[in-house]
Structures are given as structure tokens and as C-alpha cells.
């Protein structure tokens, strides 16, 4: 649409490294509902960026603004260094997207669905269309079902076909909104492997999910949303590391163990049945174990439980991971 605007100088420090950058991005729907509130999101190039939040937290609205389907009420969004939604025609050919589940023409075959979407992209070469569609189908394991009408597809197959559409061309950014929805565990594993492969090729992957373990398994970075606001963002490690792990001792002699641990300088000791937990001290934990054993405590288990993203999320939002109202 507006090609000239793309030439405007980037304001400040190398925004070129960020695949997505939003500033005070806000969307208020006509009903007055504030779906996204002052979002400052930065997605570095080459990352697998987990976009986490309960259903209704504004993830999908954000994604729709990023791909130009929804106009922000205020604030800016830049994708691949260009403003959205003004530069959709220049940006979107480089972006593959799966938004809020797959949507297909039921009366067309899987292959014809892909051909149609590819024909919609004016920058896609019609001469390689069939080859690219076949390659994309192959990549998501749909080659055998390519000629079948899409209405006969299972939810998992539809999801795969949606992914195939996102992979019709080499992309610099993949926006995947809940890509494993409706898939069985095997399918979920395959999608994760696929995401890792794509990231390995240098594609930045922006992955929204409400499944914490999914984000933990594949993402390098994570942002957490709750009630339309960004709660935190950063490398996945630092997020979980912000919460210290807990020392956990499993023992039938819980009372003795708690006493010994306190003597050894472990803080915040708590006993619960045969589990005794505390903040681990900054020294070799092996010595702690020796002290326990020398004191005659029978130790069944000993170790540090790392804080999970779920813990991090709870600590950040002060609430459970439930649907926001």
C-alpha cells in the first residue's frame, strides 16, 4: 500500500535486529473492551519466541495486529523493520502465519487449498507453485492425503495443512498461534521438531501458546501476557532463573531433617509429610547431604527442583493459569 513510508528512518538503536517490535501497542474494541494495553514487545531475530498467556489475555489480538488484520487503537508495531499494518504488502510475503486455528475450503483438496493461498500472494512465483505446495505438504506429513477434500480432514490434519500454508515459501518469520491445538501427543512432538528445524534454518518463530511445557520445550525467549498487559519478557532461562529452585529432601525422618538443614544454614525450611524443602545455600550441596546422613537421617531423595515456567507465571501474575475474565 504505502511503500514510501517504509523508507522512513528507524528511530534509534538498531531496530533492524528485532523481527517484531511494538511500542505502547493498544487495542480497544468498539465495545470498549481493552484487549491489549500498552504492549512493548521485542522479538529478537533468530529466536523461538514463546508468547504465553491464558485464553483471553490478548495474545490473538496482538497477533492479528502484527499481521495487519486489525488496526491498533494506538501505539506502533514494526515487523521485519517496517510499520504494520501499512506495509503488509512488503512484509507479509516473508511471514508465514497460523492464526487461531486452520481455516480451509472444505470442498477443495488439501493441495488445492494451498494453491489458492499461494495464488493470493502476488509475489509468489506461479511457475514453482505446485512444487512448493508439494514440498510444504511433505514437510508436514500430508503428502498421502493431499488429494483428499479438506472437509474430510481430522482436526490434526487441518492443523498440519495450516502449517503447510505457512511454509509455502521460505519465511523470515513464522507466527504460529497455538500450533499444537487439536494434535495428539505424537503430532505435538512432530510440530515441536518442525519448529526446531525451522529455527535451525534461521527463521524466527513467534509461537503463542497456553501450554507452559510446550513453551519450555522449544522456546529461547518468552513473553507473558495477562489481561491484555505484558507481564514480562526475556530469555526463557532468565525468567525461570528469577525464581530460585527449592532444595527438596525426601525422608521418613522429616523432623530431624528439618532440624539438621536449619543448623546447616538452609533458609525457609518447611516440612510437609516426608518432604522437607528449603532455599538452597550457596555451597556444595553434597556436604549438606553428608550432614544429613551423619545425623542419622534416612534420605530417600535429595536434590534441587528448578522453578518451572508455571511457577514463574504464578509468581509474576499472582494468579493461577486460568481463563481471564
Amino acid at each position: 500500500m504505502d511503500e514510501a513510508s517504509a523508507a522512513e528512518p528507524d528511530s534509534a538503536r538498531g531496530t533492524g535486529d528485532d523481527v517484531i517490535r511494538t511500542r505502547a501497542l493498544t487495542k480497544r474494541y468498539r465495545g470498549g473492551q481493552l484487549a491489549v494495553d500498552g504492549l512493548d514487545l521485542t522479538v529478537p531475530a533468530g529466536s523461538v519466541f514463546g508468547f504465553l498467556g491464558p485464553n483471553g489475555s490478548g495474545k490473538t489480538t496482538t497477533i492479528r495486529m502484527l499481521v495487519g488484520l486489525i488496526e491498533p487503537t494506538s501505539g506502533t508495531a514494526r515487523v521485519l523493520g517496517r510499520p504494520m499494518p501499512r506495509s503488509t504488502r512488503a512484509v507479509l510475503p516473508h511471514v508465514g502465519a497460523l492464526i487461531e486455528g486452520p481455516a480451509l475450503y472444505g470442498f477443495l483438496s488439501g493441495r488445492d487449498n494451498l494453491l489458492r493461498l499461494d495464488a493470493a500472494d502476488p509475489t509468489a512465483d506461479p511457475r514453482t507453485r505446485r512444487t512448493r505446495a508439494a514440498a510444504a505438504l511433505d514437510r508436514v506429513g500430508l503428502t498421502a492425503a493431499a488429494g483428499k477434500k479438506a472437509k474430510a480432514y481430522s482436526l490434526g490434519m487441518k492443523q498440519r495443512l495450516g502449517l503447510a500454508a505457512a511454509l509455502l515459501r521460505p519465511r523470515r518469520l513464522l507466527v504460529l498461534d497455538e500450533p499444537t491445538n487439536g494434535l495428539d501427543p505424537q503430532g505435538m512432538r512432530e510440530i515441536r521438531t518442525l519448529v526446531r528445524e525451522l529455527a535451525g534454518d534461521g527463521t524466527t518463530v513467534f509461537l503463542s501458546s497456553h501450554l507452559l511445557d510446550e513453551i519450555e520445550q522449544v522456546c529461547t525467549h518468552v513473553a507473558v501476557m495477562a489481561r491484555g498487559r505484558l507481564v514480562t519478557q526475556g530469555p526463557v532461562g532468565t525468567l525461570a532463573a528469577g525464581l530460585r529452585g527449592r532444595l527438596v529432601v525426601t525422608t521418613p525422618d522429616a523432623a530431624d531433617a528439618a532440624r539438621v538443614l536449619k543448623e546447616q544454614g538452609v533458609g525457609d525450611v518447611a516440612a510437609d509429610g516426608d518432604r522437607v524443602t528449603g532455599d538452597p545455600p550457596d555451597r556444595d550441596l553434597a556436604e549438606l547431604n553428608t550432614a544429613l546422613v551423619t545425623a542419622g537421617v534416612r534420605v530417600r531423595g535429595f536434590g534441587v527442583e528448578r522453578a518451572s515456567l508455571e511457577d514463574a507465571f504464578m509468581a509474576l501474575t499472582g494468579e493461577g493459569f486460568d481463563v481471564a475474565g
Partner: protein, 313 residues
């Protein structure tokens, strides 16, 4: 439990060379403006998608059936030795001629389908054009492809217009086939009473089909506009057809005489003037202008709406 060492793994993967991540350059293999031929690709895709839809084929089948029914009815009636004598108006005037010349079945069938069946079919296709895609969710994928909103809308209107033409031709060809089968063909008489050759008659039939197809383009634009207002294909179709019926009724009420020249179906039956000798162009031209006006007004409205709309479906 969480990963073994998220910190190092995280940073290791982040530290990917960012060589190719500057602001977007023009997509490889395409010039600054992609070849217009590639827009034809979307048009072709849209045409084949529309005409492969079961519903479109059903509509065309119904339209093709109308001349068959009319033809058989006339044949049976005249078989009884009766002449159907309904005269007056643009349409039924042709009916009496059908028994003498099968070609008149083309004019009769078009006159019979133009007030309702044809616009109904067009209303369904136009109403569903954008709303149906929104309803199925495919609209967001087309836009993200990126089809471009203006481009998609133009392609949708072009396809709807193509459907107007195809639907009209289906009626005309079906009528021609049935007419040739059930009745004699040959030279024919114009409304003005002059005699023209069969070839001339065929040419006029084609012109009439074109005039009928053009008559539907205003409604097509109206339907497309309605289609951009909602995410429900059924609602858009129902609204378009509802508007059509309302306008048709309004066009018949003598009290509303003043606004009638601005109603899109007002000059629809002017196509009969092509059967005069010489052709009486006034109403035909007025019809053309009126359809162009509707296409411009509702086309702009559809564009204004569609290019600024939040696509939430």
C-alpha cells in the same frame, strides 16, 4: 521439572547470526510492483473456487431448468390447441411467439428469470463473496498471504460480475437448446413488426443476454457491500435478497413514482427494446448508467468498509 540448563541453551540459540535481518527488501524474484499477471492468478483461483462450489452449480442448474419448464409448458399448452394470449409488458409479449420460433424462448426465459431467479442467484454469490470467507476463516489467510484488501475486493467483484454473465448465458443457452428441440427455428419478427433473419436474431439474443448480465452488476456491487458488513455469509445473502425484493416491490408502487428511476431494477426489462427495429436505445442507456452508478457507489462503499475493517473472524 524443567530443562537441564535453560540459560546456556537459551543464549546459544539466540546468538544466531543476524546477517539477513535488515529491514525487508523487495521479495526475491519480484520487481517493485509484482506483475499484473499475478493478479490474474488470484482471479483465476477465485473463479475456479466459485464455480467449483456445489452451491454455485446448484444455482446454475436451477437457472438452466427454468427455460426447460417454460418450453415444456408452452409446448403442452399449444399441443392442446390453445394459444396463450398474455400480452403486454416486456416479457410475456414474447411468449406468444415461442411456438412460431424457438429463438423466442431465449427472450421469454430471460424475461422470466430476470425479475427474480437471476438476481437471487447473484445476490447469493455476491453476498457470500466476502462474508462467506470471513465465516469460514479463510479471509484472514487470504489477507495474510497477502492478497491485499483492494486487490481481493476487485477480484471478488470481477468474479461476481463473471457469475452474472455465466448465469445469464446458462439461461440463454438452455433456452436456445430447448427452443431448438421443441419448436421450429427460422426468420423472426421484431416487436416493431419487421422481419429479420435467424442469424440477426441470434445476434440480438446475444446482445440481450449481455444487457441482462449488465443489469445485474449494480445488484452485484450492492451485495458485495453488504458482504463486507458482516461475518456471516447467510446473513449477507439474506440481506441482499431481502433488499432485492423490497426494491422490486417499491418499483411497483405508483405512490413512489418519484424515486423509481433510481431503483436498480427500474430499467431491467429495457432489454426488450433490442428486439425493436430500429433498436430503441434510450432505456437501455439509462439502465447502463444506473448500473454503473450503483457499481460506483456501492463499490466505493465496499472498498471504504473493507480496507478499514478489523478482521476478527
Amino acid at each position: 521439572m524443567s530443562r537441564a540448563d535453560p540459560e546456556t541453551e537459551g543464549t546459544a540459540r539466540t546468538a544466531r547470526p543476524a546477517a539477513d535481518t535488515g529491514p525487508v527488501t523487495e521479495p526475491a524474484g519480484a520487481g517493485r510492483a509484482p506483475s499484473p499477471l499475478r493478479t490474474l492468478g488470484l482471479l483465476r483461483s477465485e473463479l475456479s473456487t466459485t464455480f467449483r462450489r456445489w452451491r454455485t452449480l446448484a444455482l446454475l442448474a436451477v437457472l438452466a431448468a427454468v427455460p426447460v419448464l417454460v418450453g415444456i409448458a408452452v409446448r403442452i399448452q399449444t399441443g392442446d390447441g390453445q394459444q396463450s394470449g398474455r400480452g403486454g409488458g416486456g416479457g410475456p409479449a414474447f411468449l406468444t411467439q415461442v411456438t412460431h420460433n424457438g429463438l423466442f424462448l431465449v427472450f421469454t426465459a430471460l424475461a422470466a428469470t430476470l425479475p427474480f431467479f437471476l438476481p437471487l442467484a447473484v445476490g447469493v454469490v455476491a453476498g457470500d463473496a466476502v462474508a462467506g470467507e470471513a465465516n469460514a476463516g479463510t479471509l484472514r489467510y487470504l489477507l495474510v498471504a497477502p492478497a491485499g484488501r483492494t486487490r481481493l475486493l476487485v477480484v471478488k467483484y470481477a468474479t461476481t460480475t463473471a457469475f452474472c454473465l455465466v448465469a445469464t448465458l446458462v439461461v440463454a443457452l438452455s433456452a436456445l437448446a430447448v427452443g431448438a428441440l421443441l419448436f421450429p427455428l427460422g426468420d423472426l419478427m421484431t416487436i416493431s413488426g419487421t422481419r429479420i433473419t435467424f442469424a440477426d436474431g441470434l445476434g440480438r439474443a446475444l446482445l440481450i443476454a449481455l444487457a441482462v448480465a449488465v443489469s445485474l452488476t449494480g445488484l452485484a456491487a450492492l451485495g458485495l457491500f453488504v458482504s463486507t458488513l458482516t461475518n456471516s455469509g447467510v446473513a449477507a445473502m439474506a440481506t441482499t435478497v431481502g433488499l432485492l425484493i423490497t426494491v422490486q416491490i417499491t418499483d411497483q408502487l405508483p405512490q413512489l413514482h418519484a424515486i423509481q428511476p433510481y431503483l436498480f431494477p427500474h430499467y431491467w426489462l429495457s432489454f426488450a427494446d433490442l428486439m425493436r427495429d430500429p433498436v430503441y436505445w434510450d432505456d437501455l442507456v439509462k439502465n447502463l448508467q444506473l448500473q454503473a452508478l450503483y457499481a460506483a457507489v456501492f463499490g466505493s462503499a465496499a472498498w471504504a468498509r473493507f480496507t478499514t475493517k478489523d478482521v476478527t473472524a
